[in-house]
Symmetry: none
Subunit: 229 residues, 2 copies
DNA sequence: CAGCCTTCTTAGCGGGTTCTTAGGAACGCC
DNA sequence: GGCGTTCCTAAGAACCCGCTAAGAAGGCTG
């Protein structure tokens, strides 16, 4: 997956700088704006993949910015930041079309987790295009073609479905039962050893490269993601 | 927003045809299935945006279909149709993970209204991102990932469950008995030495940082919180 | 109909995980 | 400060989980 671009909008210099640094550290391509007007302009010009938006700002506040975007038909995911923790604020934020909501003070790690959760959800939503990518792994569902590092990877039908389902749920841990149901159409409590065999198969094909994308979560299941140390 | 896709599942031909026609007329992209098995297959293959699901069907009934989907981790919104109007049915339907409930006979307009309401609600609700945080400790349950100060912390299944339960009860002191019950599924008066061993394990991993988050309450049990001295 | 690809089962190995035990350390009460 | 109680830790044994190899069974294609 190509690098995700995030726009951070906050009028407080210190906080904004910190957010930008933290997200950059996580590997995102981060830009920032100090106020609502600038933010709207930047969204129009660079259409980021996600916006982290402070609610309390002078002039045009976060809610207003989001509302303007939505009214203009822009569906870029928004995560609101606010000092307040009232339920009514949260409701308002979500009604306006926000995707998540974080009350100050919060741990930077929590912001990162929520950013990932929102991007994960957006990525796997069914109306996104019919090609999935993760790092240098590309699956073109229309052409029914899978490539890793530019080289074509030949997969049997079941292998293909397994990779596809894992890819559609990037970052999410899937149990053997879930895989049995969604890839094989079996009952969740059927013998899961087929799954293990097939994970072995696709590992030898898809993960014959670095970085490894298929990970075992012992006692739980499997997941696909780029492992950040 | 692209056209929304709805799957109608009903074994009665006449009703099903009518529903399909009505929803198509409203501008939805409608497909249909005559029974539960077919429905499950179609959901897997085409992942619709919403499912209208008759409860009373031979073989695999509506509740069973919904349960199978939810167990497989599929969160597609479901509206149940039923001939019965009992409160217990409604409760069962919602418990299983249905989003709305309609008793026959109903006006087509009512179905349309509920379809729109459910879609609107789903669009604006954020991921109920199951993440818990305490200071710089973050647990992302979907990704099954735990980080402290941004670094990933590897936990065995039992360790993970223990941290999760402590984190879900932040600030509350949990007795060894409670932990035995909720993390191990043992009786509360079983030998609590396992708990001590595991608290030791997770201390070395998640409390290898400052501030310490896991605290012993002598004579009572353990708790997780940021210690303000 | 023969050969290949694919699917799935089985069995064994290796290593992570769980749990027990026991000794020593820390705490708190008197 | 002494003493009993509670808690911590190290170490090891048994266990279970997941990986892999190998082969049987089924299906598709030439």
């Amino acid at each position: 997956m190509s690098q995700r671009r995030i726009l951070v909008v906050d009028d407080e210099d210190n906080l904004r700088t910190m957010l930008v640094a933290a997200l950059k550290y996580e590997g995102y391509d981060v830009s920032f704006a100090p106020d609502g007007q600038t933010a709207l302009k930047m969204v129009r010009e660079s259409s980021p993949d996600l916006i982290v938006l402070d609610v309390m700002m002078p002039d045009l506040d976060g809610f207003a910015v989001c509302k303007r975007l939505r009214d203009a038909g822009n569906r870029t995911p928004v995560i609101f930041l606010t000092a307040r923790d009232s339920a009514s604020d949260k409701v308002q934020g979500l009604q306006i079309g926000g995707d998540d909501y974080l009350s100050k003070p919060f741990a930077l790690e929590e912001l990162v987790a929520r950013v990932e959760a929102v991007l994960r959800r957006v990525d796997s939503s069914p109306d996104s295009a019919e090609t999935w990518t993760l790092a240098d792994l590309v699956m073109d569902d229309v052409a029914h073609r899978v490539t890793r590092a530019g080289e074509e990877v030949h997969l049997s039908p079941t292998e293909y479905n397994l990779v596809k389902f894992l890819l559609q749920n990037t970052g999410r841990v899937l149990s053997r039962g879930q895989l049995l149901q969604n890839v094989w159409g079996y009952a969740p409590d059927d013998d899961p050893s087929v799954v293990e065999t097939y994970v072995g198969y696709i590992r030898r094909k898809v993960d014959a490269y670095e970085p490894k994308l298929i990970h075992t979560v012992r006692g739980v299941g499997y997941t696909m993601r780029v492992q950040q140390a």
